[in-house]
Subunit: 343 residues, 3 copies
């Protein structure tokens, strides 16, 4: 059970209700009226818990689990223990997300502006916002309805937030326009000047950065990530994109819709990624690239050239994935051969 110090559980739900919530169908052994009280991972779940199996690595846990019910792909159903009710679905993780959100809905938020928050005289706060202690809302800043601004977060002058945004503790936003339902985690930095210098041996001259950061609806941005504002054009994060912690996004970068950017990725200035591009952790992209829709960039890749839509690249410098793995195998083989000769 989730620690009651931090979480409140809703429910219970019958198996039939869980099937409806999740879009799964009840397997042949399930009794639709059975009542479930919580979600849990398969290794610790008990008879009133619902688990899920998505990553096949955990099939053994599934086969041995005491979970009362489990969301699972039909192909793996045969491995279930006999006591387990199955909720069959082609997308167990999506189904689990829906079930877990039913047991643990977003906690209700009490609207309030903390006495120690500082809200600019010309700022406009929408209805039902919660502004935590020490938060600072600048002049002419506009905050939508039902926004939650974390403790000691700072919204600079002129910033705009849509409805239902969550801004984490100690985050700071400036020079940006943010859509609806955006989640910005603690310590995120948005809108500072990009790294714009005219370099030279007599010293580096700072180039004014005159753009903004545009964050579209339903974006989520991980803790301590940094997104610089544009130089004149804007930096844009497309709707529904999900960005992990400690990512660096430079000036004028444009991400399309639904991009997934894993932790510690760095994207250099003016690179554009189309919709649903995925970038693995610690990947780096040089500037002024074009990454096609649905492209996948492997973890730790160093991308120096444009990537076509749908392509998968990896390595530093990044090449098509099949080529990369062939190179890795080739080097391993040659190295072993050299060892044999040398020994």
């Amino acid at each position: 059970m989730a620690d009651p110090r931090f979480y409140s559980v809703a429910g219970p739900f019958t198996l039939a209700a869980l099937a409806k919530i999740s879009g799964a169908r009840v397997g042949s052994e399930g009794v639709v009226g059975t009542v479930f009280t919580d979600v849990a991972s398969l290794d610790v779940a008990g008879p009133t818990d619902v688990g899920f199996l998505d990553n096949k690595l955990y099939t053994d846990d599934f086969a041995k689990s005491a979970a009362g019910a489990c969301l699972v792909h039909p192909d793996l159903a045969a491995k279930a223990p006999s006591s387990m009710a199955l909720l069959l679905t082609d997308e167990p993780y999506h189904a689990y997300a829906r079930v877990a959100r039913s047991f643990y809905p977003r906690a209700p938020m009490t609207a309030a502006v903390a006495p120690s928050a500082v809200v600019g005289e010309t700022a406009v706060l929408g209805a039902d916002c919660r502004i935590e202690p020490g938060a600072v809302v600048g002049e002419r800043t506009e905050v939508g309805r039902r926004c939650h601004i974390g403790a000691n977060a700072v919204l600079g002058d002129g910033v705009v937030l849509g409805d239902d945004c969550e801004i984490g503790a100690n985050a700071s936003l400036a020079f940006c326009l943010v859509g609806r339902g955006v989640v910005i985690h603690a310590g995120v930095r948005i809108g500072q000047d990009g790294f714009g210098f005219a370099l030279g041996p007599q010293g580096h001259i700072k180039v004014p950065q005159l753009g903004r950061v545009i964050i579209e609806d339903d974006v989520e941005i991980g803790a301590n990530t940094t997104i610089d504002r544009g130089t004149g054009p804007d930096t844009v994060i497309g709707a529904g994109s999900k960005i992990d912690n400690l990512v660096q996004i430079a000036h004028n970068v444009r991400l399309g819709r639904g991009c997934v950017i894993v932790s510690q990725v760095g994207i250099s200035g003016s690179t554009k990624a189309d919709d649903f591009v995925m970038m693995g952790g610690q990947a780096g992209l040089t500037g002024h690239l074009v990454i096609g829709a649905g492209a996948r960039i492997g973890a730790q890749s160093g991308v120096m050239r444009n990537v076509e839509a749908g392509a998968t690249v990896i390595g530093s410098p990044a090449v098509p994935a099949t080529e990369h793995w062939r190179q890795v195998a080739t080097l391993a083989k040659l190295s072993r051969k050299g060892k044999k000769k040398g020994s």
Copy 2:
């Protein structure tokens, strides 16, 4: 035009004035009295805007641009549209920096200490500082004239800032002496203990870190970058160096003047870089190295040995650039050959 929510444009300026400001000369088609009202990028600029062409990737945008004037290298002038006035210069980006700063001068700052800022009784604030809400200035801390301390930033006890410094929101500085004209972006961490432990199987013993961080004049430090204080010697960032976001600089590192450190670089303890060293994004350097003046370290490099002045290295482990690219080509070739044989 830059969003008036965030920026105020100055001007207008005549072509003659822009030539003077930028140090460029007016091309043969230009009319010196023509008036310009703004800067803009070439793809969106109109007849009263000034653009610039620096990166040849954008030559097509230049050839098709509706910009009234453009800062451009004489070698590319022939590609200009006939309606465009040219401002010819060998350094278009430097020239643009000066023009952009004329249209968008630094906003005037109203000196004030916000009521919710906390300034230590023994702190000394220079004239005309602006201290934003929630900022904390420690005891015996000295802040120069015309400094701007961002909301919820924290200056620890004893910290010294020179004149004209800008400290971003939520930044924290401790155990450091900072020169004049230094820009420290939001969320930067300066002066915490370095990672100093005497490691051992019975546990790791913390070693007191007794140095400082010295930041010389005109340094700029990007958002969420971390700079640890020295162990006894100091960590030093040389005058005019520019450090991007999310960079890690360990204890006792010394950077010379004018170094350029791109995002997510990590420099291990006691490594010294001489003047005007450039490090590409995500490069990592092991400790106790000496990097010669003007050396260039490629993105994602892993530098494990000293680098000579003027050298360019890349790769992990880093080798001279020509050698690296030859290795990359060799492996690609051998891998293709292996594939042919195998198929």
Copy 3:
């Protein structure tokens, strides 16, 4: 001498006292009654200072040093200048740590809650805590004795801290239980939702993250590091582990006791590392791995497979260290050969 603006020196100590403090023995030339007033690095130390030699790179500094005394391994004693008293020990760095802590003990802390700190009505503060200006302590939060909460730090609702913890400025903690003697540096983010999304072409669905972060005793966590809470299971940092700056630790990661994680490492979700694992800077680990006790992971490695206890791996993809260096040598050799042929 350490800058008195930031540090107060204790002492002086006789050579005999230093031997006792450090566990070293006095070399044949040392006079036990000689008095020492400070520690210093060998290149700047004078006759009343104590230095240490640990890294052989600095043997020349040792041979030329004016330090009055030096902690040194017996094997290197012969290189000492004749005027230097030696403190002989097999572990000079450990010994130095103890000596330095005697000259520079932790500054005494005056217990106080700053007027601008905001402490929840239902929070419980232990005796003798110091809460700096602007810090926010949530509801039902429990803070142990003698804790020091930095300026503008945020402890979320329900968070528990053990005795003698130090929380840096602008750090934020949520959904976590923290042991005794834990040091969390400025800007650290603990307990935010992990990167949990059920991905799909119709949009990425957020999966509730229902676990916590458990931080055991004597852990230290570097500036701007991020540690996500578990999905249901917890994220756990084992006792005595030391984590450097800008590290990313994803949901459900478990580190054993005494792990050492250098700056900018990224550990993906559900990876487990056993006791005393070491990870070099910028290494990345994919998810769901098992890393055996005492394993060593080289800097910039990309670890995609389990690592056995005691093994050393490096490279991207990571392989056993000997294999990696043989691959590096093989490629360099083949590349030179190709060049010769081609020229």
